[in-house]
């Protein structure tokens, strides 16, 4: 099914079938992320309060809310990047399918993290060539075959529409790309380890309108195959691409629902105010 999708996606490349790395097995049915009674404290402050949330598969879920409300922390909790914060305390569970992300062993964690890609706020090209940036994740997870790696790199650079722009300079440092290109490279890097979920933390906020539009369009195309969770500041963006919207205020989920529903007919007073711009 995945290959079919990819073929459809890459019309120009359809005569060259892409084989998914055998390393990474995919579940037949897309898994959902379930967050249950999740609380997060840093020192004495209660950052995330009693979060209960189901993030549907193959949809774009936008997390919106005023700055400092815990959007990014929630996102980072999903793939446990919050672990490195000093004096952090967490209760509750986050499930991906049947695996508990909060209470898993470290060896399960590296596998689960692979299944959840992250596109950061500012592009973070690793200090290596364009080629190695995309191949990095695969190499870490034990893919050694050079041809396989090459093919993966080319494939995912095509997916993010970067191939034609960089095919002649795959060996040059990734930091020389423009910032919009870098962000797409980061996306390609995340996709290369075949994740199921993509977490995007204000992935377009550092980009110019044109690049940000390109990335947005990519997300919309990718949701056929991946589940995307986005944190965004721009309501307009959420309006454009979100299927589901989660509104967070002061570390609490205020409202969840279909995007249209929430935007057109917010149930909660706070949501209404936020959408009208009275709280920001």
């Amino acid at each position: 099914m995945r290959n079919l999708f990819l073929k459809k996606f890459l019309k120009s490349d359809s005569n060259e079938p892409f084989t998914v790395n055998a390393k990474f097995k995919h579940p037949d049915k897309a898994e959902e992320i379930n967050i249950k009674d999740f609380n997060l404290y840093i020192e004495d402050s209660h950052i995330l309060k009693n979060i209960n949330l189901t993030i549907p598969a193959n949809k774009i879920t936008c997390i919106i809310g005023p700055s400092g409300c815990g959007k990014s922390t929630l996102l980072k909790s999903i793939n446990r990047l919050t672990d490195s914060i000093e004096n952090v305390r967490k209760t509750g569970s986050i499930l991906l399918g049947n695996d508990d992300l909060q209470n898993c062993t470290e060896s399960e964690l590296v596998e689960l993290r692979r299944k959840i890609g992250l596109v950061p706020q500012r592009p973070t090209p690793l200090p290596m060539s364009i080629m190695n940036n995309v191949a990095y994740g695969c190499k870490i997870h034990g893919v050694k075959n050079v041809r396989q790696l090459r093919r993966t790199v080319r494939h995912y650079l095509k997916v993010v529409g970067l191939w034609d722009e960089v095919k002649d300079r795959l060996r040059s440092p990734a930091v020389r790309l423009s910032i919009g290109q870098q962000q797409r490279l980061c996306l390609a890097r995340s996709l290369a380890v075949e994740p199921e979920y993509i977490l995007a933390d204000e992935a377009t906020s550092a980009l110019d309108p044109v690049s940000s539009r390109i990335v947005e369009d990519l997300f919309v195309k990718l949701k056929e195959q991946y589940s995307i969770v986005m944190v965004t500041h721009t309501l307009r963006q959420a309006l454009r691409i979100a299927d589901y919207v989660v509104f967070i205020y002061m570390g609490e989920i205020i409202e969840v629902g279909e995007a249209k529903e929430v935007f057109n007919n917010p149930k909660h007073e706070l949501t209404k105010n936020y959408l009208q711009g009275t709280i920001s």
């Binding site: 470290e106 060896s107 399960e108 590296v110 596998e111 034990g142």
Partner: protein, 298 residues
Amino acid sequence: MSNQFRIIKDKTANGVMSAITIVSLVFVIIMGIGLYIKSIPILEEHSLWELVSSSSWQPFKNDFGFLPFVMGTIWVTMIAIIIALPLSLMTAIFLTEYARKSVKKFVYPALDILASLPSVIYGVWGTIVIVPLISDKIAPWFSSEFSTGYTVLAAGLVLSLMLLPILVSLFVELFVCVPDDLRAAAYSLGATKWQTAKNVVVKKSLPGIFASVVLAISKALGETIAVLMVCGCMPEVPKGLLDACYPLPALIANNYGEMLSLPLYESALMFAALLLFVVVIIFNLTSRIILKRIEKNN
């Protein structure tokens, strides 16, 4: 390669690394204790205050007064910092705020050279250039007495030159880290380049500047060979810039050969080492604490 194996490797690395780190930490403590044990004999014989405040140094008559050496160290360090600090600040500001690329291309290698030269070379240069300069040109200006040139001033000058590249590179690193937005903000208020450098760049980096100076001082305190070669090595409290002096490290280095002749002598020199050790630690710790406080206030 299974994930399990990757995690085991990761854990092992964690263990090894933390072990190495802890061992290096314990080393500080061992060193302090070791030096203290060696200084016990002399501390039993003379009180700490007696040792530090007496200025009579006659090891073979059981007279161990460290005042000349302590004062020598303080004099030389102070002179070196007084000369090096403004020079290095100005140089660093010039390099980050004013200089064009073509100028930097010449200045950085020059500083590199200064930084890379060993202290013994500074010593050689000091004895060939600075010492005669002081005895022939500078000293006659200030007093009619003859000066050998091996003086506090010579040691301070040589030392300041050694501190210069360290300070400049530390400062430049600090100044470069000041975001350009801040500079732009100052310029847009109509500040001149110098005002911006002074009020924004330097002010923003003050904690770092302070830390750099402390580092430079601790380096200056312990500098041995270069100072030893130009200081004159007279165990008397220096009264002015043109007196000879005898800093603590020079004392230790000069006498390690004969110290084994008397048990108390050895203990005295180890006490000197302990003194340096303690002073350096106090310097580092206080500076760190002050630094943290300044950081918090910002």
